[in-house]
Symmetry: C2
Subunit: 152 residues, 2 copies
């Protein structure tokens, strides 16, 4: 396991790469039945007459898999990955059979002005398929603690 | 069922309110086991020593429930709710037993300059708990089609 990261350990330009996850049509449909039951996410045939032309994963499914990949092997932030807010986009659909991984880069490191024990980092995470195409971009502000030995 | 909405039917200030969804601790833990296995989402006891102090839902679970509520009873957009990009924040945690609903408002309606058959709307969606507190804010740009009888 990687050593846990405190604010002092994080630097602009730091990069993290996760493992991979293969998305099946069964998983796409199961997630969609629970959370996003639209024809282009639940049924191959019905998907043909839609914007997506064929089955595509819910963007929220792509987002959830992105999170899981980062928990399994992403930035090992002490205290966990706790997002406050971010910008999310899905430049292209995630399809059955796609193999996803996540590449992240630290864009900013900002100590809190009001709370000396904590800070924020801005992390840009690109979720890519097996062709290197970005299926999700998420730029998020994450809470990161300072090292406890600094006395806070 | 509500009449389907095309771009011509959507106006700035238009509002939509969904039904409600009660979140159980079992559902919080099940989602987290699949997608966000961090102690504050998977285990009441382990959650005590974390930022959240007690069990909280993954933000992605709140996002997924928000989507489901909007599919069941939200803006009935012709062709489905297809998000391109958005700004997402979680101002406070979602807790076991919370009853969530979503209130949305149209902020902008923009015909596409390059594709006459389509346009975009900007929709602000607040996911609120039973106390009216916002647990998620999502401002998203959605693809919306123009009426087919306009000849596109």
């Amino acid at each position: 396991m990687s050593e846990l990261l405190y604010l002092e350990d994080v630097f602009v330009g730091q990069r993290f790469v996760t493992g991979t996850h293969v998305l099946t049509s069964e998983a796409i449909k199961a997630f969609a039945r629970d959370f996003d039951p639209q024809p282009f996410h639940t049924d191959e045939d019905a998907a043909k007459d839609t914007f997506f032309c064929r089955l595509a994963a819910s963007g929220w499914h792509t987002a959830a898999i992105t999170m899981r990949l980062q928990i399994d092997r992403g930035p090992p932030i002490a205290g966990g990955m706790i997002g406050a807010n971010g910008e999310l986009s899905w430049p292209r659909p995630t399809r059955p059979g796609d193999t996803l991984h996540v590449e992240s880069e630290v864009l900013e490191v900002t100590p809190s002005r009001s709370r000396p024990e904590r800070g924020f980092i801005t992390l840009k995470s690109e979720t890519k398929n097996q062709n290197g195409e970005v299926v999700q971009l998420f730029i998020v502000k994450l809470l990161v603690w300072r090292r406890p030995e600094y006395g806070f």
